[in-house]
Structures are given as structure tokens and as C-alpha cells.
């Protein structure tokens, strides 16, 4: 299988869907050259810097039979466009009694590691999880990126595709053939028996590295990747926790009311899972600060494989 980057897997997904379906087109403030070359400026539509309006236009175009893909690049720029997301896109199908479908894919890069300071380093996916009517995906590998993004574009509903800045250069095997990764299904990225680590995006990769370390210490770590944040696959997460009896959630975002809190709640609310838990669940997240610029500061704020390993040891020693 060819190896391509996470970033290229996203471009490939969009290109394949645009070839397959003439109603798919993209809004962006900055076109990807290969897409522009292949599909031209009508379907790869470079806009003025008007995220609010081109996101709202996607709602109107979707309601008129198209499948727009809205590319904000950084999620930061999407905060200009929250009315069309929160008040329009995710409510409009329901509000109008289901009379029209609104298939829209929003793409936004999240996370730090870029030394671009607080505005350009954000991981606010949990802000979008509480919005009924919106699906939220966040892949951790090139394979999942292509498969999930294709599923998002084919979905008849608004889907927010968050994509990790840290993983853009990550290479992995991605089939050339058509495939989708189903929205709403978690994936066990590594099997283990002593503790379940649920990681999100980059933290899946860091959790896998931490699992190697722990393996040497005689601890068997199961790594679960939710892949979809809403609707979250609670069944897979709970089954894993019932098996291992322990739960750690690793997230590049801050903890407060985050995806990590939802994952802990999904596990501990369930009587059977709760009963199986041998230790309290534990979050390894970013510190609760905006993201600073200077490398020493930025590195201090984010979780990583070492902090995950420390967290695993803490959970295992709690009784």
C-alpha cells in the first residue's frame, strides 16, 4: 500500500469525492494547488476573508442541492463563523421538520506544536460536541483521515472534520481504492489488559509510544481511538474499560468540560463499567491556560508520551 501523509490523505479524500460527485465543491481562503489544477476555480472556490459568509453560503448551497466542503484552515478562523454553524447548520434540518437535508463538511486544523501562540493554537473540539445536529470527527492516522473525511463528505448532515496540526506530516499506509471509515465507530489501536488509554488525535500516537514504554515495565496498555467525537462510541470505550478495569484519557485540549470529561462520564455513568473499575479514571490533558509562544512554555503546557506514562503509573498505583 502506498504511504502518504495525513495532510495528503485529506487532500486525496476531497479529490476522490469531487471526482465521484459533481455536487461536491470547496470554499477556502487559500486553495490547495493540486485541487485547483484538477478542478478549477469554480469548484475550488477561493473566497474573500469572510469565514462567516462563506460558511453561511455553504448552508444555502447545501439546501439547494450541493455538498459544500468549507475549509477554514485553522479552527481559529472558524470562530468568525459561529452563527452559521451553531444557529444555522446544525439546527436547520430539525427546525424545518426534516424537509431538506444539509450535507456540509467543515474542515479545521486544531492543536499546538506550531509556536504560533494562543490564537493559532487551539483545540476547542469539545465546544462543538454539545451541539445536537452536528457530527464531529478527528482522525489520528492518514488511513483514518482519508476514510473519515470521505464518509463526512458523503454524509447527509453537517460534519465537523477536525484535523491535527501535529499529525499533518505523519506518514502511513493509505489504500488507493475507495473506502470509508464509518462515522461513530471507535477503533482499538492496540490491545492490552491492564489499563485503557483513550487518546484523541496526536494523543493516540503518544499513547502508543507510552504503551511501548509501559510494556517494558510489564504493563499491558489498550489504546482506544474514538475517531468520532460526536456521536461518541461509548460501547467500545466501556467494553474496553470493563475488560481492563482502568481508564486514562489523553487529550491535547484542556480538561474542563472537554471530550475527556465526556469519555470519563460515559464510562463511569454505566453501572456495569463503574462496578468493573478498579481505580478512578484520570485525565492527562493540556494545562488550563491559553497556549504560549516560546518553545519552553509551549512544551510545558501540552501533554506527551512521558506524561501519559506517568499517568498510567499513577492510575495503576491508586487502589
Amino acid at each position: 500500500m502506498p504511504k502518504i501523509t495525513y495532510s495528503d490523505a485529506g487532500t486525496a479524500a476531497l479529490a476522490e469525492e469531487m471526482r465521484r460527485d459533481p455536487t461536491v465543491f470547496e470554499f477556502c481562503t487559500d486553495a490547495t494547488e493540486s485541487l485547483l489544477d484538477e478542478f478549477g476555480p469554480v469548484r475550488i472556490r477561493t473566497t474573500p476573508i469572510t469565514e462567516n459568509t462563506f460558511t453561511g453560503m455553504a448552508v444555502g448551497a447545501a439546501g439547494s442541492g450541493y455538498r459544500p466542503v468549507v475549509n477554514w484552515r485553522q479552527v481559529t478562523f472558524g470562530f468568525v463563523a459561529m452563527d452559521p454553524i451553531v444557529n444555522q447548520a446544525c439546527k436547520i434540518h430539525y427546525m424545518f421538520g426534516g424537509q431538506q437535508k444539509f450535507p456540509i463538511t467543515f474542515r479545521a486544523a486544531v492543536g499546538g506544536g506550531t509556536k504560533l501562540a494562543a490564537q493559532h493554537s487551539q483545540s476547542p473540539y469539545s465546544m462543538f460536541m454539545n451541539l445536537a445536529g452536528l457530527k464531529v470527527i478527528l482522525p489520528s492516522t492518514p488511513y483514518d483521515m482519508k476514510g473519515l473525511l470521505k464518509a463526512a463528505i458523503r454524509d447527509d448532515n453537517p460534519v465537523m472534520s477536525f484535523e491535527s496540526n501535529r499529525l499533518m506530516g505523519l506518514e502511513g499506509e493509505v489504500p488507493d481504492e475507495d473506502y470509508v471509515v464509518p462515522i461513530g465507530k471507535a477503533d482499538i489501536k492496540r490491545e492490552g489488559i491492564d489499563i485503557t488509554v483513550v487518546g484523541i488525535a496526536w494523543m493516540v500516537q503518544e499513547a502508543l509510544a507510552a504503551a511501548e514504554t509501559m510494556d517494558k515495565e510489564g504493563v499491558s496498555v489498550e489504546v482506544v481511538d474514538p475517531r468520532t467525537l460526536a456521536p461518541m462510541d461509548g460501547d467500545t470505550i466501556r467494553a474496553s474499560v470493563r475488560k481492563t478495569g482502568r481508564l486514562l484519557v489523553a487529550d491535547e485540549a484542556g480538561p474542563t468540560a472537554g471530550a475527556s470529561a465526556e469519555i470519563i462520564s460515559l464510562a463511569t455513568e454505566d453501572p456495569e463499567t463503574f462496578k468493573a473499575m478498579k481505580a478512578p479514571a484520570h485525565r492527562v490533558c493540556a494545562l488550563d491556560t491559553p497556549i504560549p509562544y516560546s518553545p519552553v512554555l509551549e512544551d510545558h503546557v501540552f501533554p506527551n508520551r512521558e506524561r501519559i506514562a506517568e499517568g498510567i503509573r499513577a492510575v495503576l498505583s491508586a487502589r
Binding site: 459568509t53 448552508v59 444555502g60 448551497a61 450541493y66 424545518f96 424537509q99 457530527k135 447527509d156
Partner: protein
Amino acid sequence: MHPSPEMQREMLRQMNTIRRFEERATQDYLAGDIFGVVHSYIGEEAVAVGVCSALEDGDQIVSTHRGHGHCIAKGADLDRMMAELYGRETGYCKGKGGSMHIADFDIGMLGANGIVGGGIPIATGAGLAAQMDGKGRVAVSFFGDGASNAGSFHESLNIAATWKLPMLYVCENNRYAANTAAAATHAQEDVATRALGYDMPGVIVDGNDISAVYDAATTAVARARAGEGPTLIECKTYRWGRHTERPSQAEPRPANEVEEWKTRDPIPRLVEALKEQQGQLTDEEWEEMDREILARISSAVAYAKASAFPKPEAALDDVFSGEVA
């Protein structure tokens, strides 16, 4: 372009339907049969009807919080509108939307909208779709003077002008945004002037003169269909009632201003115009038309009342549209 006498009679019918519909909706709202809020369109009927009369079936419109008039002018079914206001399962939105969220995608009415300025980009997206389709459709964005100050107005007009989208931007300048006078929030009186910044025609019309509205809309539609781009049409008009029909709603407008505008009622103006055209309308015909309309509204109310409320569990339906995997 002057509308034919038949067309004028149809315009009159539609304007009066809006008037009678709003009177009844307000009455039933105050009686507690309609919930939430009602924003009445009374006084502004010539705008919706004048513009929509210049459209074809395939054309699309996007409305505002004050949306009943646009629905009716675009041809929405009164039964399903009233049933929606009554919160019944036969309503346009199965009772999920209410007054601020009526839509009928089959007739190109892409929805009312509770967010001031929120509908302008949506309409612009419909305009882009129309351009990409290449079938000569146009899209219309209705919005208020208040909305013309919102960023989405500026962003949308610039995009539409740059891309030459087949669009009409229709500003219903009724001089107030809720309790705030436009004079206090607009650097200058005429919203149409802003079109200059986008190299777009900006037209001002008497929004209570349906022929003038129809005329401006017809010109703009022709321009849009010819691929020449969008037009901003500012209709100077006035709402008779307060911002909402809530009994607690403030009324900061001077009483004489309200009275003065009532003398410019678009409906008798059209009645008189038709009567002046030899044999086009008699008092009897007009009375008969009004009776028919009132009967039609009553039957819409009867339909709504005879319809069931949705089952509580229906609240869980339609969160998502059926999957394609």
C-alpha cells in the same frame, strides 16, 4: 414594466391575504393558541408581493424573523403555515419551527430566520448554487434596515458583486430595528448608497407602492438572469404594529408617525389604482375578494385546530437526516 391588470389583481389578493393572515395570527397568539412570538408584516405587504411577483417558480428566497409575508408571497400553503404556528404535526416543520422558522423548499422558500443578518449569507449561497446550476434561476435575500448594519451584509454584497451572482438584496427599511430608530444606528439614511462600494446598482423605491417595487424587482431579475450580477433594492416602508405582538412589547415610535404611515397603506393604493383602470375592479369585486380571503384564513385555522399535536417522542426525530454510508 407595468404589471397587467390580472397580475395586479393577484398582487392585491396576495397582499390582502398577508394582511388577514397576520391579523388572525396576532389574534390567536394573544388568545394563547400560537406560542413563542409573532412578528407581524402588516404595512409592508407590497415589498414581499412586489418582489415575489417578479420571480419564477424555480427562484429562491430567504426570509427573516418577520417571515409570514414572504412565505405567502412565494406561494406557501396557508393550512400548513397556520398548523405550524399552532404547533401541530401537519405544520410545515411538524411543529418544530414555529413562526420564525417556516420554510418550504419545494416552492423555493428557503426559510425564515431568527438571526438578524443570518439569512443573507444563506441566500447568497443559494445564489451561488443558481449560478453553478446555470439554469437561469435567481435568489433573493430579504432583510431589514437593522440587518443592513451587520457584517454579513457587507461580506455577502461584496462576494455577490465580485462573482456576479444572480441575486436580489431586498432591504425592507421600515426605519426601526426592534425599538431602535435607524437614524440612531446608520451613518446615513439610505442603505442603497452602500451599493456604491461594491460597484452594484443600489435602487431606492417606495416600498408601499407595489408597482414601483415590482418594477425595480423586474429590472433586477432581468439583470441577474442575464449574468450581470446582483442589485440592492431598498424599499422604504413601515410596520404598523409594534416589533412583536407580545403584549409587553415597547412602542417607542411617535403616534403621529405611525398614523401618517397608515395613510400610505399599499392595499387601498392598489385598489384605487385598479378602480381607476376602466373596469378592472369594482367595490363589489373587492369586497368579494376580501370575503374569500377571510374564509380561506378561517379554513386554515380550522385545519390547524383539527390537526393533532405531535407525539412527544417526535422531538427525537429529524436531528439527523438519513445516512448515506
